[in-house]
C-alpha cells in the first residue's frame, strides 16, 4: 500500500527528468538526452519497433547508452509522417524515420550535437532556424487536455505518469473531497460525454449515485469499443496514457459508490489491450487499485473485457449485455443504466476520452475547464483527421474551433489543389457538412443543427472526386453489416435503404424512389430500438439535404457527377490525344480496346468492365470517364 506522501515522493524524484522532456530549462537527468519514439499503432505499422532496436544498438556502438535514454511513447498525432522520433531537450522532430537513418542521427546529433536538418519534419525547418513543434501549424492551434501525456511519457511506466501529476487527482478526491463534491465539480465543469451523445457526465454520475439508495453493488464501465471507420482517438489515449483512464474510473467509483469497474476494449487493438494490462498490474502493485487505496479505506478494482468484433457493442446497453456474456443486443430503456445496468445494478458508462479529462478537471478546477469551449460545450475535443487532407492524424482542439481552422490550418488543406466538398463527422451515425458551414464553430449543438453530430470524433474530408451518394452507400453498407438484427426497422429497414441507394447508383431509380427513401429514413430514425438504428439514416439524410442535386443527377440524368459510380460511367478515348501507343489495349483485361498502331484507339463499351486499368496506363491523358 502506498500513502499520499509516497506518491508525492515519486513525483518529486522524477519531476525534473520529465521537465527535460518538456523542453524546459529546469529539466535535468543523469541522461543528457531523451529520445522519444512513437509506439502507437500507426507508427508501429510503419516500423517504429525496428527504429528502437536500431537506436539501442547504435547507442551502444557509440558508447553513449548511459547518456541517452530511448523511450517508447504513445501517439504524437501526426500519423501520416510516421515513424516519428523526438530528441529532447532540444525537441528536434524527426519524421518518416528509416532504420538506415539511425547511425547518422546517433553519430551526428546524439554524439556531436549537430541536428540532422535534412531528416527533420520539413515544417519545423525555416530560414531563421528550427521551429519548435508547438509552433507548427499542426500543433499551434491544438490544446492538449485528454492527450496531454500522449507522446510524452512511457505508457508502460507508472512512475512517469505519476511524475506528471498522475494519481494526484485521485489522492485529492480521496483525502479532500466528498463524493458529492466530486460530482458537483464534474457538473460545474460542463463536461459532456465524448462518445457521441454528449450527455452531461456529472448528471450521469449524480443519477447513479442517487437513484437507487440501497444497491449492494454498483459498477463503473469504460467504453473503449471504438468502432467508427476512421476513428482512433480512444485507441491513442489507451496506447499513450492508459493510467489516466484507470485513475478517472477510480474517481468515478468513489463518486457513485462503486468498487468494481470494467473496461470494454476492442480485441482489434492489441497494443492498447497489452498496455492496459500492464497499467492495471502496475496500479495494483502500487496500491492505486485494490483494497484501501492510498490508505484511505477506499476500495476499487478493474477488469478488462475484450470486444469481439461487433460495432453495436459501442451502444451502452449492448455493451453491458455483452459483458454479461450474451449476444450484444441493445435492450430498451428505461430502465436506464444508472438505475439498472450491468448485471441489473446501477452502472455508469463513459468513454475513454471523457475519462481522460476527469483528473485534470479535479486538479485544475471546474472553472478552468469551463473556460474553454462554447456556451454549452466545454473543454476540448479530439478528432481523427482523415480522407482528402494533408495532415492525417490526431488533433485536440478547444470546442468552438471552426471546421475551416481544423481543415485548412491544422490539417494543411486538401491535397493536389482539389476543391473541398464536404466533411463527414460522427461516422455511420453522423452526416456530411458542406462548404457553406465551414465557419460554424464545432460543438455538440451546432453539429446537430446542421444535420450531423459530434460522434466519437472521426472527421473525414472529401473533395470534388467523392460522390456523395456513394459515401452514403458506404456508411449504410457498414450499418447493415453491423446491425444486431433485433428490431425490425434496423434489421430490415437499413437493408432496404441500402438497396435503394444501390438502385440509385446503378441508374435504375425514379424520383418516386427518392421520396420513398426519404420516408424510410425518417421511419428508421423514429422507430429503431437503439441509437445505432436511430442514427443510421443520418448519412443519407444529410447528403439529401445538402447534395440533392447529386442524387437528382443519378436519378434523372443517370450520371455520377464525381465520376465514381461505375454503372453510370463510360470510358472513352479522346481521338486527338491518342498516339496509338497500344499500351491501353495491352492492359485491358477484357480486350475491349482495339485500334491499329499509331492510330487513335477506341473502347467497346459493351465489353468494358470499367476497371480503369487503361486510364491508369495512358501517358497522354487520352482516356476519360464521363
Amino acid at each position: 500500500m502506498m500513502t499520499v506522501a509516497e506518491l508525492d515522493a515519486i513525483k518529486a524524484k522524477l519531476h525534473s527528468q520529465m521537465m527535460l522532456r518538456k523542453g524546459s530549462e529546469a529539466g535535468e537527468d543523469t541522461y543528457r538526452k531523451h529520445v522519444l519514439v512513437c509506439g502507437g499503432t500507426g507508427c508501429t505499422s510503419s516500423g517504429s519497433m525496428g527504429i528502437i532496436n536500431k537506436l539501442n544498438e547504435e547507442l551502444k556502438k557509440n558508447g553513449i547508452e548511459n547518456e541517452v535514454k530511448v523511450i517508447k511513447t504513445g501517439c504524437f498525432g501526426l500519423c501520416a509522417l510516421g515513424p516519428i522520433m523526438i530528441v529532447y531537450p532540444e525537441g528536434s522532430f524527426y519524421s518518416m524515420v528509416k532504420e538506415e537513418n539511425i547511425p547518422e542521427i546517433v553519430s551526428e546529433h546524439l554524439v556531436k550535437g549537430n541536428v540532422v536538418e535534412r531528416l527533420l519534419y520539413s515544417e519545423t525547418v525555416t530560414d531563421s532556424g528550427i521551429k519548435s513543434l508547438n509552433e507548427t501549424n499542426f500543433y499551434k492551434k491544438q490544446h492538449r487536455v485528454a492527450l496531454r501525456n500522449c507522446g510524452v511519457i512511457s505508457p508502460e511506466n507508472i512512475e512517469e505518469y505519476i511524475a506528471l501529476d498522475g494519481y494526484q487527482a485521485l489522492a485529492k478526491v480521496l483525502t479532500q473531497m466528498t463524493p458529492e463534491d466530486v460530482i458537483q465539480t464534474i457538473l460545474d465543469s460542463g463536461l459532456r460525454g465524448r462518445g457521441g451523445g454528449g450527455f452531461p457526465t456529472g448528471k450521469k454520475w449524480q443519477l447513479a449515485r442517487n437513484l437507487v439508495k440501497d444497491a449492494d453493488q454498483k459498477y463503473v464501465c469504460c467504453n473503449a469499443d471504438e468502432g467508427d471507420p476512421g476513428a482512433f482517438m480512444d485507441r491513442s489515449v489507451l496506447e499513450g496514457d492508459p493510467h489516466v483512464v484507470i485513475e478517472a474510473m477510480a474517481i468515478a467509483g468513489y463518486a457513485i459508490g462503486a468498487t468494481q469497474g470494467y473496461i470494454y476494449v476492442r480485441a482489434e487493438y492489441p497494443i492498447a489491450v497489452e498496455r492496459l494490462r500492464i497499467a492495471i498490474g502496475q496500479a495494483r502493485e502500487y496500491g492505486l487499485l485494490g483494497d484501501n487505496i492510498l490508505g484511505t479505506g477506499f476500495k476499487f478494482d478493474l477488469d478488462l473485457r475484450l470486444g469481439a468484433g461487433a460495432f453495436v457493442c459501442g451502444e451502452e446497453t449492448a455493451l453491458m449485455t455483452s459483458i454479461e456474456g450474451n449476444r450484444g443486443e441493445p435492450r430498451p430503456r428505461p430502465p436506464f443504466p444508472a438505475e439498472s445496468g450491468l448485471f441489473q445494478k446501477p452502472t455508469i458508462l463513459n468513454n475513454v476520452e471523457t475519462y481522460a479529462n476527469v483528473p485534470q478537471i479535479i486538479l485544475n478546477g471546474a472553472d478552468w475547464f469551463a473556460s474553454m469551449g462554447t456556451e454549452k460545450s466545454k473543454g476540448t475535443k479530439v478528432f481523427a483527421l482523415g480522407g482528402k487532407i494533408h495532415n492525417t492524424g490526431l488533433v485536440e482542439i478547444p470546442m468552438g474551433t471552426t471546421l475551416r481552422e481544423v481543415i485548412y490550418e491544422i490539417g494543411g488543406g486538401i491535397p493536389n489543389g482539389k476543391e473541398f466538398k464536404a466533411a463527414q463527422t460522427g461516422g455511420p451515425s453522423g452526416g456530411c457538412i458542406p462548404a457553406e458551414h465551414l465557419d460554424i464553430p464545432i460543438d455538440y449543438d451546432n453539429l446537430i443543427s446542421i444535420g450531423s453530430m459530434m460522434g466519437s470524433g472521426g472527421l473525414i474530408v472529401m473533395d470534388e472526386n467523392n460522390c456523395m451518394v456513394d459515401i452514403a452507400k458506404f456508411f449504410l453498407e457498414f450499418t447493415v453489416d453491423e446491425s444486431c438484427g433485433k428490431c425490425t426497422p434496423c434489421r430490415i429497414g437499413t437493408k432496404r435503404l441500402y438497396e435503394m441507394l444501390e438502385k440509385i447508383t446503378s441508374g435504375n431509380a425514379t424520383l418516386e424512389d427518392l421520396d420513398k427513401m426519404e420516408k424510410l429514413c425518417y421511419y428508421i430514425k423514429n422507430n429503431s430500438l437503439c441509437g445505432l438504428g436511430q442514427t443510421a439514416p443520418n448519412p443519407v439524410l444529410s447528403t439529401l439535404r445538402y447534395f440533392k442535386d447529386e442524387y437528382l443527377a443519378h436519378v434523372v440524368d443517370k450520371k455520377c457527377p464525381a465520376g465514381v459510380c461505375q454503372d453510370l460511367l463510360t470510358y472513352k478515348i479522346v481521338a486527338d490525344k491518342c498516339k496509338g501507343c497500344t499500351a491501353c489495349a495491352r492492359k485491358c483485361p477484357v480486350g475491349a480496346i482495339s485500334g491499329t498502331v499509331k492510330e487513335p484507339h477506341s473502347i467497346d463499351t459493351t465489353k468494358c468492365i470499367k476497371c480503369g486499368a487503361c486510364m491508369a496506363t495512358c501517358k497522354f491523358g487520352a482516356i476519360v470517364k464521363e
Binding site: L306, A308, G325, N326, R327, G328, F343, P589, C611, A613
Partner: protein
C-alpha cells in the same frame, strides 16, 4: 436446415483439452464468463467447432444454442480454422476474365482442398474474395499480406514453394 459443421474433421491434443478445461475452471465462477472463455478457446484451437462449443456448454451448464448464438453474433469468432498462410484469390470481374478462376482451380488441385478449407497440416487456407482494386494487375491473389499479380497457372507451384517454413 443445412448443418454448418466445420469443414475439417476435429482433432485435439491432450494439451489443448487440458488448457480448455483450465480456462473454463478459472473463468466459470465469474460473472459474464462466456465471452472470455470463448476468446481463450479460440486462441487454443484457432476456431470454435461444435466439439469445443459442446464442451463449453456442458461445463457451464448452458445450452449449446446459447453458446452458438453468441459465437455467430461476433465477427471475431470463427467456426472454421484459418491457415498459417491465408490465400485469397480475387474473383472480381477483371481478374475472373483474365483467368483467376483457373488459378483458383489450380490452387485447389495443388493444395488438395476446396475453397473455404484448410490443408490438413494447417498451413494454407484458401478462399475466394471480392475485387481488391488491383484490376491492372489481374489476375491477383494475396497470401497474408503479400500481393501476387499477373498470375499464370504455371506460377502457382513456385509461389507456394516460397512458403516452406
Amino acid at each position: 436446415m443445412a448443418f454448418k459443421k466445420s469443414v475439417v474433421a476435429f482433432s485435439q491434443t491432450p494439451e489443448q483439452e487440458q488448457k480448455l478445461m483450465e480456462v473454463i475452471n478459472k473463468e466459470k465462477g465469474h460473472k459474464g464468463a462466456l465471452m472470455p472463455i470463448l476468446q481463450q478457446a479460440q486462441e487454443i484451437y484457432g476456431y470454435l467447432p461444435i466439439e469445443v462449443q459442446t464442451i463449453i456448454a456442458e461445463e457451464m451448464g448452458i445450452s449449446l444454442e446459447k453458446v452458438y448464438g453468441v459465437v455467430t453474433f461476433y465477427a471475431q469468432f470463427s467456426l472454421n480454422p484459418k491457415g498459417k498462410y491465408k490465400i485469397s484469390v480475387c474473383l472480381g470481374t477483371a481478374c475472373y476474365v483474365k483467368g483467376s478462376g483457373d488459378v483458383y482451380n489450380k490452387l485447389q488441385e495443388v493444395l488438395n482442398i476446396k475453397g473455404g478449407e484448410l490443408t490438413p497440416d494447417g498451413k494454407f487456407s484458401l478462399e475466394a474474395c471480392r475485387c481488391i482494386g488491383a484490376c491492372g494487375l489481374a489476375p491477383v491473389m494475396t497470401i497474408n499480406d503479400d500481393v501476387y499479380g499477373r498470375l499464370t497457372v504455371d506460377e502457382v507451384g513456385d509461389i507456394l514453394a516460397k512458403y516452406n517454413d
